[in-house]
Amino acid sequence: MSFTHLHVSTAFSAHYGVSWPEELAAAAAADGATALACTDRDGLYGTVKHLKACMAAGLDAIVGVDLAVFDDDGDLRTQLGGRVVVLAHGHNNGAGYRALCRLISDAHARTTGKAQGAVPVAVTRAELASRTLDPETLQPVLTVLIGPDSDVGRAMGGRRYLRPRTLFKRWLDAMPPGTLAAEVVSQLSPPGEPLSTAHAVRMLKLAAEHGVPAVLSNAVRYVAEDGAATADVLDSARTLKSLPELSAAPLLQPNGQGWLKSAARMLELAKEIIHAAGYGTADLKRLLAQTEALADRCRMDPVADMGWKQPVVPEASVIGIAGDALAELTLRCEAGIGRRFPGISGQREQQMRTRLKHELRIIDSLGFASYFLTVAEVSRMILAMGVRAAARGSGASSLVNYLIDISQVNPLQHDLIFERFLSRDRATLPDIDIDVESAERHNVYRKIFERFGAERVTLMSMQNGYRARGAVRDAGLALGMDDGEVGEIAKQLWRFSARHFREALVEKPELKEFADRVEQRGFSENQQLDLLVDLTERLDRLPRHISMHPCGVILGDATLLDRTPVQPSGLGLPMSQFDKHDMDPMGMLKLDVLGVRMQSAMAFAVREVIRLHPSKAEVVAAGAHQAGPDGTGPDYIAEDGRIDLNAVPLDDEPTFELIRSTHTLGCFQIESPGQRELIGKMAPREFNDLIIDISLFRPGPMKSDMVRPFLEHRHGFAPEVYPHPDLKPVLKETHGVTVFHEQILKTFDVMTGCGLARADEFRRALGNDVLEAKVEEFFRKEARARNYSPEVVDKVWGTLKAFGSFGFCKAHGAAFAVPTYQSAWLKAHHPEAFLAGLWEHDPGMYPKRLLVAEARRLGIPILPLDINRSQAEYRVERVESGPDRGKLGIRLSLNGIFGLSAAELKRIVAGQPYDSLADLRARSRLSRPSIQRLAQLGAFDTLHRASGGAANRADLVQHLQKLQARPHRKGVEVIEGQLALPLGDMELKNLKAVLPAPSMVDNVRAELDLMAVDVSEHLMTSHRPLLDRLGVTTADKLLGLRNGTEVLVAGVRVATQTPPMRGGRRVVFISVDDGTGCVDSVFFHEAQEQSGSLLFGTRLLLIRGTTRRTGPRGISISASMAWDLSRPETLPFPVAAPGAPAYPGPELPVPLPGPLDGISRNLAITGLGG
């Protein structure tokens, strides 16, 4: 006998289900089941994974949902009357699945898409009833299970005989005939409690009384008993109550029996229920037969019902073509030739045309022409919005993409292979990713919805699973532990999977203190810590919620919403319940429209340049650009001063000089400590070097030591070696080292003659246990047949095997290298505008304050906040007076001041300029704390000076504080357009000078506290005397030191990274900024042991180590020990001469508080993250 479970929650029922679809399907199949349902709560979140798992396990999939229903008697917007399971009927050409999707979208339609919204996910009974019949045939296509968690089931308790009957009757009255079943569940809880056999009996009898079929289920939440404890913890996380609280309520599951029981056990259960009901064998048979009959009715045909793997693209009419899509695509490519290859002829033209024909043939055979036209349409639409856009990814391999303006990279120039992107052997929709300005991303989304129609577009979602920090927090909550204590522990968890918590306790030095506490047995709180570790591991990776994917947009035809349920995203636009893994199985066309802050920063910089220098001549002079063909400057600068970044030639020497200097903070892709080290070693000379650099800086190549041989060959330290002369053309650009996927494809092709399309299939098989062996066999046989020696075959296979799985697609590298080059170009020629763009859009990996420090290092004046000059954005400004007169400086923005609301900001800017504080108060209606904060930040200093008053900033702040204590006075009414009399500011003028002026440290502290940026001076400057006494070396002096010199360095943390490393031992990279530049340090195992909890918890670091020269312009520190600079008593002061007083002796005062003291609000200062 086999049994079909019809009510099963997977882990994708967030904070409810425990087991993954694969585990459930495997267990069901092992027990001899032929079908299995997936009924996740509130949606089809796990459905596609379930479908896949069932197909793999040889089961028929049944799909449904566990949904809340509004209480007809209560407030229909908020009050729920229990939950039901809704199953879709199968083998009806998708009518059941369609109804299910629409029903679920109904349930979400009224929610806000924001966490903790007041409206629950639920349907009304009327909505449910209307969806159960197919609108065309009026046949039932859904079955609703009334089970233990329905209003009927919940009324089963106690002695109320009538209540469940009344409620059940209501269902019968409301639902069309043939759409209801009673769900009989006994989880063998104590007699009389919910999920007890007694309740199951009552449900069974109710069904019999009304002639409704009854089915048996176990309302499964976990695949085996072991999951019950995890379910308890998830209940706690969902309800935000601790286990003791839930247990007292009682709100926990009555016991741990909600698992995927075997057919034999389900039969036992059925017998027990039938026996307790006083029924006989015939009734037993009927219960089981009805269960299987419903199961049969709900078996899905993946293809006919759910559209499995059938790509659907928007209708031709929507993308504006009437005829054949391929003919249209060919036409558009022809039109692109003149634009992209002006004047092309002869052999070059021949080559180009051959390639074009080749690509079009493949596109035709796959039937993807309309896909390309769709993407081109989106791309065209974005560019028409005036938004910067660039294709990334393997799409750059396609000439068609280049010709129809999807991509900006010429694949012929960079020798990119189309088959890496698309081939006849691969029938999945290719990925084309489009990078747009991050600030415009949401507008682009809205425009796509507008252009294609809301019925054809939805955002893709993503699953957010538990990681270590969240898991430990929720495990702590479940155990009722103190928030603060759990928070402290969570802070120390740094990028490892929760599943390995216990292992990490042994290994990671920063967890040592915690591990010691776990070790100390005998105290109840420490037993609790032990449990905390176990529960944290249980939560690992389990989905917590879905959210809008950062870039995925799904495009389909008018039936899209029949194929995916949607729910509101935080953005307000609808979002599919499917994630990226579900796209290909469901035949969904996903376009990645990725917001890239760097694109916004660059667009901003270009706008600033044109604003400051509104003519070609001025831009050429300001940027020191070349004279160009006619002596007036290069063609890529328009007469009005607009720079066409995409047209800037890729061979600008000052740009490469900047890159080689390694002062690349702020440059796309090459600003990280590791990248600065690599470019220092590599010293790029041309664009292709950037492509190689970006491709090398990946976990795979770094881990497997590809970089060192490459650099040795490049610099001529070692001769280039080729496994065989035939491979020289393939590997020449990387000096014999295999770096790119494209090279792997060509290697296969050269040595086996397999063709590039098959070669790409082979490449994909590398690293796959089963398939790789077959590839190896083929490769060896064919290569031998072509007379390559066994040694060559061995050697090349070794390379393919090792590098195949993680080599980098050159097309990706080329697409990335474009913004890398462009950003470096802007930094080299227009650093002020570029940095202003970086501050405004904050694109990089570092805290903004480091980029402010970079401006300081470059000698760019940082202009303070000024109530009349600061805008809602950073602005480049010509300095009018003082030592920097005539230079370009960057004026701080009013945006990003703690506590200043967007509305206040708007009013300030709208009302500028102000001639007095009273004027400001009257017209901007700022809150008092905001005015006070602006005063603290010096925004009124200019006004104050102009008033001629003798007081200082501290007096003003105190004055404003006192004002706050007085009752509120109404501001002076100012009539629009009327100018206040230029009386000067009497309030400021009359302010008495009483207090000492705030020190530099005070000012910097206020800046850090309120803006997370140190403006007046670098925050390390005030630590200088202490550092001098310690004998600290500054970043700018390091390059002058010999390799292996022992030094002390110090600074504020700006980056912490733990990249995967060869051999698997963790290495921690910590970069600190000391005001003269960045010091990059590396902590190997022993140094990590020495430094313990300082590794991740400290903002100001003193580091001892030895210099490690990495290249002509690069040096880093191999650390041996670290200290917390803010704890002077622990620091290694030089040992005083005998007799001289030791620290803290009288000649060294106890250090004054530093700028970071007492600031806990803003971790953005150090880039340490949450």
């Binding site: 809880s189 008993e225 072991d226």
Partner: protein
């Protein structure tokens, strides 16, 4: 919770049949009732690792009516709740239903 160890003999399907408790032999004289009851595992256990298996969150309870061997059939029966530890198979007596045994002898307390 009050509990003491008892020896239980079961039918092949796992239903208790006879038990030895406090030096006396008892026979189950009515159909027993079985359920699973929640445990406060977070206070009772110090570990709950993945793969702990069954028995962490609940334990199996059998409510049995027994009569001491040799007692008269007219004597009232005794109602006991027994728990069976899932992995070890050991039985413990967890509850004695006083209300159901008016003539209970003091020495059995």
């Amino acid at each position: 919770m009050f509990s003491e160890s008892v020896d239980v003999a079961c039918t092949p399907s796992g239903q208790p049949l006879r038990l030895d408790w406090a030096g006396r032999h008892y026979t189950v004289c009515a159909e027993p009732v079985r359920w699973y009851e929640r445990r406060q595992w977070w206070t009772e256990e110090s570990r709950a690792p993945l793969g702990s298996g069954p028995g962490l969150v609940d334990h199996e309870i059998w409510r049995v009516q027994v009569r001491a061997d040799g007692e008269d059939a007219a004597e009232p029966t005794l109602t006991l709740d027994l728990s069976r530890h899932v992995s070890s198979g050991r039985w413990r007596l967890v509850r004695i239903h006083d209300a159901l045994q008016p003539h209970r002898k003091p020495e059995t307390a």
